[in-house]
């Protein structure tokens, strides 16, 4: 195993508890993007460029965007809460 591969593994190994333990969803989404990027790097050094590319587009573009939009939405609904409660 090359040093690059070990480095990528360590990066992922350190990154995943960080993503889990960051409890603030917005910061977590950013950490998740970073974890995805380091996974992509890992796949790249493990001779899996197709997987690396897919992981990169999903975790750097696809999911973070949905996460962000979800969080925007959640925040806005929470702000409107009292009105919602009345309606229920």
């Amino acid at each position: 195993m090359t040093a690059l591969q070990i480095g990528a593994l360590v990066l992922v190994g350190v990154g995943s508890p960080v993503v889990v333990l960051v409890r603030d969803p917005l910061r977590q989404a950013i950490c998740f993007g970073a974890l995805g990027t380091s996974l992509a790097l890992l796949f790249f050094v493990f001779q899996a460029p197709d997987v690396a590319l897919a992981e990169l587009v999903v975790s750097a573009v696809g999911l973070p965007l949905i996460l962000m939009l979800t969080l925007v939405k959640l925040g806005e609904i929470a702000a409107e809460e009292p009105e919602e409660e009345e309606r229920e």
């Binding site: 995943s16 409890r23 977590q28 974890l35 996974l39 001779q47 899996a48 997987v51 979800t70």
Partner: protein, 114 residues
């Protein structure tokens, strides 16, 4: 040393599950599910790896060059798509949960018991 990638996969899986179990926020939970699923990509790609072999792309590679297993990579690709779609669906549910329950904390979602 030859175990390291597998150990990292098990480690990542356990952290992902821990995150799901202890989560106080559905969005956080979905991300943790993604972390747990990442362990399976690692395991898949790791299982098909071969020391010193090239990527299974023969553009500019002499026929017969040893390459890593293309099959597991195809499986990992499917895995990644599945993870992205499940996450999207769960996030949509989280948005609705906020709208209906006024919370996205699993500890406070209380409509089904017994």
């Amino acid at each position: 040393m030859t175990l390291l990638p597998y150990l990292v996969a098990v480690w990542v899986l356990c952290w992902g599950l821990y995150g799901i179990v202890t989560s106080r926020h559905l969005v956080h939970l979905v991300v943790c599910l993604g972390v747990a699923q990442a362990a399976t990509y690692l395991l898949l790609v790791g299982v098909g790896y071969r020391n010193g072999a090239a990527a299974p792309i023969f553009a500019g590679l002499a026929p017969g060059t040893p390459v890593v297993d293309p099959v597991v990579q195809a499986l990992a690709l499917v895995d990644i798509v599945v993870e992205a779609t499940v996450s999207a669906l769960l996030l949509a549910l989280a948005v609705q949960a906020q709208k209906r329950f006024g919370t996205v904390d699993p500890d406070e979602l209380h409509s089904l018991r017994g």
